[in-house]
């Protein structure tokens, strides 16, 4: 299968990649660009480990083709936080011990940051429903929800 030339913005940088027409955005990020922070847990959009944003919208990178990213702005876990400072969501994940194995963590952080950009003051229930597309098998979600609520509080100032 011949490859297609795709141009997109990834974490603020212009990127050109060649990807097969049947290759998912997830595979493009991981295999073609070496951005392995985005994880694959299911490849069917059920676990959220591959959460990224596309033009500000939260998507599962496994459900989108690489070629569909043409001209779009992609943000992945690698684009969150400054060089010497973590994003408040990342920091609160650490302080609340909201991760155990850490495989779901990038997806959760991308999804939670996206929520807080849309809704700076979510209720616990709103956080739970927004993150219902991200599976975590280690934590029982308790500390994740608390971390997101604390990050929201801090970001509201």
């Amino acid at each position: 299968m011949s490859k297609q030339h795709v141009t997109m913005t990834v974490n603020g940088d212009p990127v050109e990649v060649l990807c097969r027409a049947d290759q998912t955005l997830l595979d493009c990020l991981r295999d073609e660009m070496g951005l392995t922070g985005t994880k694959e847990g299911c490849s069917t959009g059920d676990c959220g480990a591959c959460s990224v944003t596309v033009d500000g919208r939260l998507v599962c990178a496994c459900l989108m083709l690489g070629v569909e990213a043409e001209g779009r702005k992609i943000e992945t876990i690698e684009g969150i936080g400054e060089s010497e400072e973590l994003h408040p969501v990342q920091r609160h994940f650490l302080e609340e011990a909201a991760l155990q194995c850490g495989i779901c963590t990038p997806g959760f952080i991308v999804a939670a940051k996206n929520l807080l950009e849309k809704n700076p003051n979510p209720t616990e229930e709103e956080v739970r429903y927004w993150l219902a597309g991200n599976l975590c098998r280690c934590t029982g979600y308790d500390k994740i929800i608390k971390a997101v609520l604390k990050a929201a509080e801090e970001m509201r100032g």
Binding site: T38, C101, I109, R137, D142
Partner: protein, 768 residues
């Protein structure tokens, strides 16, 4: 005993600000040392590895639950451009039934080998038959589909009840039931019979005023780790192999892969990747021998990753099983006898955790007359792997349901009934061992005092409680504590970190050395950088590897004291260690030397400084007890269950990093809630797994659960310098019973089958 209500504490203690337990670092909550890598996407898990010239593997799996392999034809696959190697069972050494891992639990390499790649027979839907490596994953997957396999389809047998029937189709014609005398001459699907007994429960039962008796059933469930199995293997021309893999034990991978591939241990190096969840499911191997053989044949490094479908069809699950339980009691609630019969589905090869179910079911209770009978039965499902407290949850579900029923019959509060009969120091468990000081009663008492337990319920709501027990184990662990030139410290162990153990290793080393925890860097070393360690499992790492770290830190202190003695020109016994410094006893004019001071001149006093410990902790792993409280609401129209409130109470010994201890309780509870309400393997009549993804194998999501409150009861374990008890496994034992009791109490009828799907609940309600 001390109590920590887990929900007021947050990420403080970063500087070792001190705790109420008298320790400076132990019991604080610093940010985990591997944390930043994990919140920024830098951490490398199994599938993240990339090697020069790497190609990709794909596995051909059986579409049949039970069949003979007549022929495998690779011709079409080999013609596909980009295909570099194909393998089948013929490429591996043939092992014999006597090929076992020596030791207490003799693991069968004969079975493992045939599980990793089928030989003449496939035994479950998804059983690996062949594998192919190609230049891209897409080509490898395409080639796998071009490999023709001819089968002779056999009748599958899917449940223990069916498999135990006289005329059931046989999975193995060389399987003869162990544990019966004389050993049968006729092969069967019953691999083993286990019986445990104290006193004479049949006679004792006759003195009961009340007897409760019931049958309970559960389905196969999966550990559900989010990271699919993944590895990469490199095979050099001199026969040396490197394997990068995510697992619960790099040494485990080395040992098992060496045996299955007929290689010597020294030829295989395993580099542990971060592990994205295991829960017992990554205590064995699946892909590694295949990747190794493909790498050998192709001359290229080979990476293999499973899809979620492959994970569900061919790895992990834990046994579904049935339980028949009978408990007799006096009018005042005193238990007089208990019996339990368990039938567990082992999957395609023997080895269900049924004996552990027999040992654990009645463990929270003081019963002088008690018997447990277990049957290990093979069926055409994937070979069961360990899952958090293997075997215990199903047995506890039956016993705790019966206890709830008994409490109702007697009109006694269910926690009071449990307290009245609780196992305590000196109680003899059914497997014959008398408990030391345990926290069973402390947990029940703490549960009774929670606000949760004393809050009234509304309409259609029910509350359930249940207890649970797990042994916890020790085992072989190694650690090296290396003092850097600037006095910072590296703590190397061979124990993969599956839930924050690096943090607890750093805290224990900090406590012993008297060095701030931020100056300690723990790491998980590969198989050629530390001596052998058992895998991470059995709730053993913080306990046993922690003990190795403590010993290694003490060894390093000894070395540092020796250096100080040399500098001060005093005898070694004139030097003491206090607050991270060597001090000279009886001469306070000599300025103490800190770790950094000593490290700075290490070259002048004899070279680099380190301490090491290689130990086998054979005893002292304090058992874990827990009590859970669950409130649910059942919608009588739809049968849907909402978990309203949940509290997990557990004796955790000393909590080294309380946040991660709470996390173990919360995570175990969530898995148990999933087991109770949603999760099950659904097979077609032909034996094909129908729900192979997270869409229809429904693990709990964030909106399914409330906050999970924790109460950490701390009864220090006398068998560990800091009082550590394993904590990881106990939390999955009580939830099945706690949730089932809550639902039963909400609808006023006993639920006897898991998962409690809305349909089952409606059926129960409608049954009148």
């Amino acid at each position: 005993m001390t109590l920590q209500n887990g929900n007021g504490h947050n990420g403080n203690g970063h500087n070792g600000s001190g705790t109420s337990n008298g320790y400076k670092y132990v019991g604080t909550r610093p940010v985990r040392p591997d944390g930043v890598d994990k919140v920024t996407g830098r951490a490398n898990f199994g599938a993240d590895i990339s090697l020069n010239g790497m190609i990709y593997g794909s596995v051909v799996r059986s579409p049949h639950a039970h069949a003979k392999i007549k022929k495998i034809n690779f011709d079409k696959a080999l013609k596909l451009k980009g295909v570099k190697a194909v393998i089948s069972g013929k490429d591996f050494p043939t092992l014999k039934p006597s090929d076992k891992l020596p030791g207490v639990a003799p693991l069968s390499f004969y079975d493992m080998s045939r599980n990793v790649i089928a030989r003449d027979k496939v035994l479950y839907d998804g059983h690996a038959i062949a594998a192919v490596a190609a230049t891209t994953q897409a080509i490898a997957d395409k080639a796998a589909k071009l490999i023709d396999v001819e089968y002779k389809i056999l009748k599958p047998v899917m449940t223990a009840a069916d498999a135990m029937k006289e005329k059931a189709p046989l999975l193995h014609d060389d399987l003869f039931t162990e544990g019966v005398d004389p050993t049968p001459k006729k092969a069967s699907n019953i691999a083993k019979r286990t019986e445990l007994k104290l006193g004479d429960p049949e006679v004792a039962m006759q003195s009961a005023d009340f007897i409760v008796e019931g049958d309970y059933s559960t389905e196969t469930v999966h550990q559900g780790y989010i990271e699919p199995h993944a590895c990469a293997a490199n095979f050099a021309q001199d026969g040396s192999v490197s394997i990068w893999a995510s697992s619960q034990g790099a040494f485990m991978i080395r040992a098992y892969t060496a045996r299955l591939c007929g290689m010597s241990t020294s030829k295989i190096k395993v580099i542990p990747a971060e592990i994205g969840g295991g829960f017992g499911g990554k205590t064995t191997i699946y892909l590694e021998p295949l990747a190794l053989m493909l790498a050998k044949k192709s001359g290229r490094p080979v990476k293999m990753t499973m899809s979620r479908t492959e994970v569900m069809r061919a790895t992990g699950p834990t046994s579904g099983g049935t339980a028949h339980v009978k408990i007799g009691a006096k009018k005042d609630g005193t238990l007089v006898a208990g019996t339990l019969e368990l039938k567990y589905e082992a999957g395609a090869f023997p080895g269900s955790p049924v004996a552990l179910g027999c040992m654990t079911g009645f463990a929270p209770y003081d019963l002088k007359d008690v018997a447990c009978l277990g049957w290990d039965v093979v069926v055409n499902r994937p070979k069961a792997a360990a899952y958090r407290a293997p075997g215990a949850p199903v047995a506890a579900y039956a016993v705790e349901s019966a206890m709830d029923e008994l409490a109702h019959k007697l009109g006694i509060d269910p926690l009071t009934l449990r307290r009245k009969n609780s196992a305590k120091e000196g109680t003899k468990a059914v497997y014959g061992v008398e408990f030391d000081r345990i926290g069973n009663e402390d947990c029940l008492q703490a549960a009774q005092k929670t606000k949760h337990y004393n809050t009234p319920l509304g309409e259609n709501q029910g509350r359930g409680v249940a207890s649970g027990f797990w042994f916890n184990i020790g085992g072989t662990s190694s650690a090296e504590v290396m003092i850097n030139e600037d006095g910072t410290v590296i703590v190397a162990t061979g124990s993969p970190d599956i839930g924050g153990s690096r943090a607890s290793m750093a805290l224990m080393a900090a406590e012993v050395l008297g060095v701030d925890v931020s100056r300690i860097k723990p790491l998980v070393a590969d198989t050629e950088s530390v001596p052998y360690s058992d895998l991470t499992g059995g709730s053993r790492v913080t306990f046993a590897t922690g003990k190795a770290v403590i010993d290694a830190a003490e060894d390093a202190i000894k070395d540092m004291k020796r250096r100080a003695a040399k500098v001060w020109k005093v005898d070694f016994d004139q030097v003491d260690w206090e607050n991270g410094s060597a001090i000279c006893i009886e001469n306070d004019e000599i300025k103490p030397m800190s770790v950094a001071d000593i490290a700075q001149i290490a070259g002048k006093t004899g070279g680099a400084i380190s301490g090491k410990a290689n130990i086998n902790v054979t005893k002292g792993a304090g058992p874990g007890f827990g009590t859970h409280i669950c409130d649910v609401e059942v919608d009588p129209e739809t049968g849907r269950v909402t978990v309203l409130r949940y509290t997990a109470i557990q004796d955790v010994g000393t909590a080294i990093h309380p946040s991660y201890v709470e996390g173990q309780l919360q995570g175990g509870a969530a898995q148990g809630i999933g087991w109770a309400l949603n999760e099950e393997y659904v097979y077609s009549k032909e034996g094909n797994l129908l729900n192979t993804g997270f869409l229809d194998y429904r693990v709990p999501v964030a909106s399914d659960l409330p906050m999970i409150d924790t109460v950490l009861v701390e009864v220090p374990n006398a068998g560990h310098p800091f009082g550590v008890r394993g904590v990881g496994e106990t939390p999955i034992v009580p939830p099945l019973g706690a949730v089932a009791n809550a639902v039963s109490n909400a609808i006023g009828k006993r639920m006897t089958s898991l998962p409690m799907s809305p349909a089952k609940i409606l059926q129960k309600i409608d049954a009148g």
